[in-house]
């Protein structure tokens, strides 16, 4: 497919990558970020996107808008205020009781109506279950391009959005353009972009828009919502310390060595993709492009070779420690500290050493 694209003859319409934006798209302006509000909480990925959106808007000399869709009430007003605090110049707000729970029909309607009325140049959404459900519907309704799971967003010399994402299961990266359609849409997974600083910027210009839909027109009804148990698994993406195991651990039983270390230092634990495929760990523990992206202060990878699909999920970590028997494993290309040894033997030693060092007793001794 990629090859076919490269060899496209000029007669294919876009001359490969020539930009000829149709007249009716030329007044599309400004960068929009969807502020994902679900069950009263703004998903942090929305703020990460405001940080990226700010950079794009500044480069293009245009404005950054937050898009808030929600029910009337404090939670929605809070989302509006937070959008400004994280950098939005203005907010488009659709407030309606039938936006209380996420449903594809009213959210798609609200978003596409907003786009058609106010014409953004770029529209960014978080690649969450909600954002992906919505983005696909909105892009198809608008018949525009959508690039999923971007790891880098930039604008090129002629002002087009250059959206870079892993391809072929994460073995290569590709840069994708939406040349002749607007808005240019992209999704970004949580934690892929850094959290921008929060400021005390007051609430600014809010443009309200009505939802032209009634509850009777919506076929899907929400019967209930079962909150996930407050297990630690939901916190992996936002954990400060993460320990993960890979195929180098040799067996499902040896994953205990990872969880033991994690418990000793108050870390979250995860694994690389092959372990999920083998059924050694549940899918919500997978770290990498198709699993969770993490940005911890410390990441310890044990027996993980470091394929690109894994690498793009952990590169945001402040400090990466790799333990692997193979000195040529790609993980040593992006880890900061490396140890060429068998993780099965080393992990217990490391757990013990951490425990010794961190016990209050020995800590006092060290401090004195």
């Amino acid at each position: 497919m990629l090859k076919a694209k490269r060899e496209a003859p000029p007669s294919a319409g876009r001359g490969g990558i020539k930009k000829e934006l149709p007249e009716h798209f030329k007044d599309y302006r400004h960068v929009w970020v969807f502020i994902e509000l679900e069950r009263g909480e703004v998903h942090p990925v929305s703020f990460e996107l405001l940080g990226e959106g700010r950079k794009l808007a500044d480069k293009l000399g245009i404005q950054l808008a937050g898009i808030v869709l929600g029910p009337p009430g404090d939670a929605t007003q809070h989302a509006v205020a937070e959008a400004f605090a994280y950098g939005a110049d203005l907010v488009y707000l659709v407030e309606a009781p039938l936006l209380a729970d996420y449903r594809n029909e009213p959210f798609t309607k609200a978003m596409t109506d907003l786009v058609n009325a106010h014409k953004p140049e770029i529209l960014l959404l978080g690649a969450t279950t909600l954002g992906r459900d919505l983005a696909g519907s909105v892009a198809t309704t608008l018949l525009t391009g959508l690039t999923a799971d971007c790891t880098e967003l930039d604008v090129d010399v002629d002002g087009s959005l250059a959206a870079t994402r892993p391809t072929f299961g994460g073995s290569l990266l590709c840069t994708i353009y939406t040349l002749n359609y607007r808005p240019q849409m992209a999704t970004v997974r949580p934690r892929v972009m850094a959290m921008p600083p929060r400021t005390d910027k007051p609430v600014g210009h809010v443009i309200r828009h009505k939802l032209s839909m009634t509850e009777e027109e919506i076929i899907t009804k929400v019967l209930g919502f079962n909150l996930d148990r407050q297990s630690a698994k939901a916190n992996l993406a936002y954990a400060d310390i993460v320990v993960a195991g890979g195929l180098g651990l040799g067996s499902a039983e040896n994953l205990q060595l990872v969880t033991n270390l994690a418990r000793a230092i108050g870390a979250e634990y995860g694994c690389s993709r092959p372990l999920v495929q083998k059924g050694w760990m549940p899918a919500d523990r997978q770290i990498g492009q198709t699993g969770k992206t993490i940005r911890p202060k410390l990441y310890i990878a044990a027996g993980i070779s470091g394929a690109i699909q894994h690498r793009v999920g952990v590169e945001g970590a402040d400090l990466i420690v790799a333990i692997n028997t193979d000195p040529n494993a790609p993980i040593f290309d992006f880890a900061h500290l490396g140890i060429v040894t068998d993780a099965i033997r080393f992990l217990p030693a490391l757990t013990e050493a951490f425990t010794r060092r961190l016990s209050p007793h020995s800590h006092d001794k060290l401090a004195s």
Binding site: T144, L146, F168, V222, L319, D333, H336, I339
Partner: protein, 283 residues
């Protein structure tokens, strides 16, 4: 009931290699498989057929060799397989793909009966976009349920369906109407071992093959490269960091000695961690 399951033939990603010099994908000899996420959709469809009766049609768009994936789906027990194949689909992005598949589903409906449910996998392992399912739903005006963990009930007479759908912080219970499009969450079921009868039938079965024209697609500007708003401008290998990991030497040291050395190195680089760990860790 009639169920259509959209599948995709993908390279077995575990065996993809990148050419070290040219940075191109070395596809030669890489075996293909049915996109693993699609198997959860197929199994769910087969279970529904078991409970409610009816037929399961599998559909794919791809080159002629995608027939292998369809034949494999037949061995699991699908009743019929449709291959949408035409050079004009080459270079399709997700928007163009959802257009072509949605036209083929309309033609399947006209030929074999209107589907009650269209299934797709959550995403593919080669593209990972999760966009084609929602795209098909929108094009066909079907109600859309992505990341479905469980189909709680189906009432064919009342045309009602209730599903449990994964959301960020929990599970949504939704009640809606047929026909609809569902993308199944992974791990929700396990693909059955096909029976010997199914294997024999799959080997003998005639795969329905449609060109764009045969699928009723007249507007070729919506297909392939021309119908794709997105353009891949550049494919490249990620740059490596200038400096490699600082290796902690193991020579003549015990595992415990190296562990202490590693911890010291961690705290040297991240001094704040030691303080945080002393209070939060070691519970």
């Amino acid at each position: 009931m009639h169920i259509v399951v959209c599948i995709k033939q993908v390279p077995d990603s575990a065996q993809i290699r990148v050419h070290p010099v040219t940075n191109t994908i070395m596809r030669q000899g890489v075996p293909t498989i049915i996109n693993p996420y699609d198997l959860f959709a197929l199994e769910e469809a087969l279970r529904l057929r078991g409970a409610h009766g009816g037929e399961v049609t599998v559909l794919t768009m791809g080159p002629p060799m995608a027939e292998d994936a369809l034949r494999k789906a037949l061995t699991y027990g699908a009743d019929r397989a449709v291959l949408l194949t035409d050079r004009c689909f080459a270079g399709s992005d997700t928007l163009a793909t959802s257009f072509a598949l949605s036209r083929a589903i309309v033609r399947i409906g006209e030929t074999f009966g209107a589907p009650d449910i269209v299934f797709a996998g959550k995403q593919t392992i080669d593209g990972d976009t999760a966009q084609v399912g929602p795209g098909i739903a929108k094009r066909l005006g079907l109600l859309q349920f992505t990341y479905v963990a469980k189909i709680a009930s189906i009432d064919l007479d009342a045309r009602e369906i209730t599903v449990k759908r994964r959301s960020e912080g929990g599970m949504q219970m939704l009640k809606s109407r047929l026909p609809c499009l569902i993308t199944m969450l992974e791990g929700t079921n396990e693909i059955r071992r096909g029976s010997l009868d199914d294997a024999l039938r799959a080997a003998r079965s005639q795969i329905v093959k449609w060109s764009a024209a045969e699928a009723g697609i007249e507007d070729l500007t919506k297909c392939g490269l021309r119908g794709s708003p997105t353009v891949v401008k550049r494919v490249f290998a990620p740059t490596t960091r200038a400096e490699k990991a600082t290796q902690i030497d193991m020579t003549d040291k015990t595992q415990h000695g190296v562990a202490d050395e590693l911890i010291a190195a961690i705290f040297t680089r991240q001094p704040a961690l030691e303080h945080e760990l002393a209070f939060d860790g070691g519970q």
